[in-house]
Subunit: 198 residues, 2 copies
DNA sequence: TAATGTATATAGACCGATTGGTATAATTTT
DNA sequence: AAAATTATACCAATCGGTCTATATACATTA
């Protein structure tokens, strides 16, 4: 009972959805207020430091969401390769189901835009990417992969994933994500063959 | 001789630099006017349809720049694998040299943001990605790769490239691009082994 | 060659709308 | 009563875009 501060949560979820689908600058506070059906007074009350603070919280919260999904997916599959494959497959279908316009937690292309705003936000986005890379690498290491190679592979996977997502969103076509997902399995399974030297 | 319409060119190059480094919405017309040292009257005169028309021209022009660089790089290397590798290596070094803030022609992360503005701009960005994919695929086919596989590989390469660029820009570290570049060579060289089935 | 006509190009004030943000007052909840 | 929350009016600044007046360039004439 007693839904405490429903307005605050509504603002955060709405803001996150808008930030990660439209971008930071394209999303006005007025739009957040309107779509979240929260009063503007509350926005100032809950986030006294304004838009940047709100964005910061959105990044944190979205990151936790993604990390949880990574761990859930890994827990539900025998191999890391299968897990990653399923993760991207899910993303492809969710993207399509949302009409290529809706909220995609993994959609961190706005990290570049956000990084221009302040060093603080930039560091946060950097931390998000590092978290994802670490979660993947840990799983690979657990399966016997050499540490350095696992870290490289983790970085490659999130690079490919983000890139494919950008193209899928732009093209409004899930194929780039599907192609990436099929390839992902190969990356992790045959890492030894495809990993190259500096 | 007689430098015709220097103002127009200045506006385009400045706008392209700002759009692709900051994003569309983060870049105001006033900033473009100020940094290009062109008069605001000229902006209206040369681009009567406003900001969107200007962005459209920037996308076209930047695309031609990249396509030319792709062809030059391929012409200068024996194998597609070597060419791609060099292409990404160059990009990594240019990114660092520019302090991770400057203009990067390949930086098309803003395609997602741009796609929200109008269907026309979205289609243009889609065409840009398709062009890049085609140029790479053509080279691979020329080297004997099966058509369908070459197209998939081209898509994977530009996905990985864009993703790695995003992370490099966010982290202000060229390593993600370098890691991708080393891996690229493996992708094209060992395509048969790593390409997986749907 | 000189004068004129006609694009083209530039200057810069100006527009309503919206931006992020602030203030204070009224309301609700505890 | 006290504290937390919401309502609303308001702010300067900037947004993209428009306007007219002027200046420059270039071609056509005389």
């Amino acid at each position: 009972m007693s839904e405490k501060s429903n307005a605050r949560d509504n603002i955060i979820s709405t803001a996150a959805r808008l930030f990660f689908s439209q971008g930071y600058h394209a999303t006005g506070l007025s739009q957040i207020v309107k779509e979240s059906q929260a009063p503007k007074g509350s926005l100032y009350h809950y986030f006294p430091n304004g838009k940047e603070e709100l964005a910061s919280i959105c990044i944190q919260q979205t990151n936790e969401l993604i990390l949880q999904k990574f761990e859930d997916t890994f827990a539900a599959h025998k191999s890391a390769a299968d897990g990653i494959h399923q993760f991207v497959q899910d993303m492809a279908h969710e993207t399509e189901a949302a009409g290529f316009t809706g909220f995609l937690p993994f959609s961190f292309w706005a990290a570049v835009e956000t990084s221009c705003i302040s060093q603080n936000l930039r560091k946060m986005c950097q931390g998000v990417f590092a978290d994802w890379q670490r979660v993947i690498a840990r799983q690979l290491i657990h399966e016997g992969m050499e540490t350095a190679k696992a870290e490289d592979t983790g970085l490659l996977i999130i690079s490919l994933l983000e890139g494919a997502l950008i193209i899928s969103l732009t093209n409004q076509d899930k194929q780039p994500l599907l192609t990436a997902s099929n390839y992902m399995a190969a990356v992790t399974k045959h890492a030894k063959e495809i990993q190259s030297h500096p």
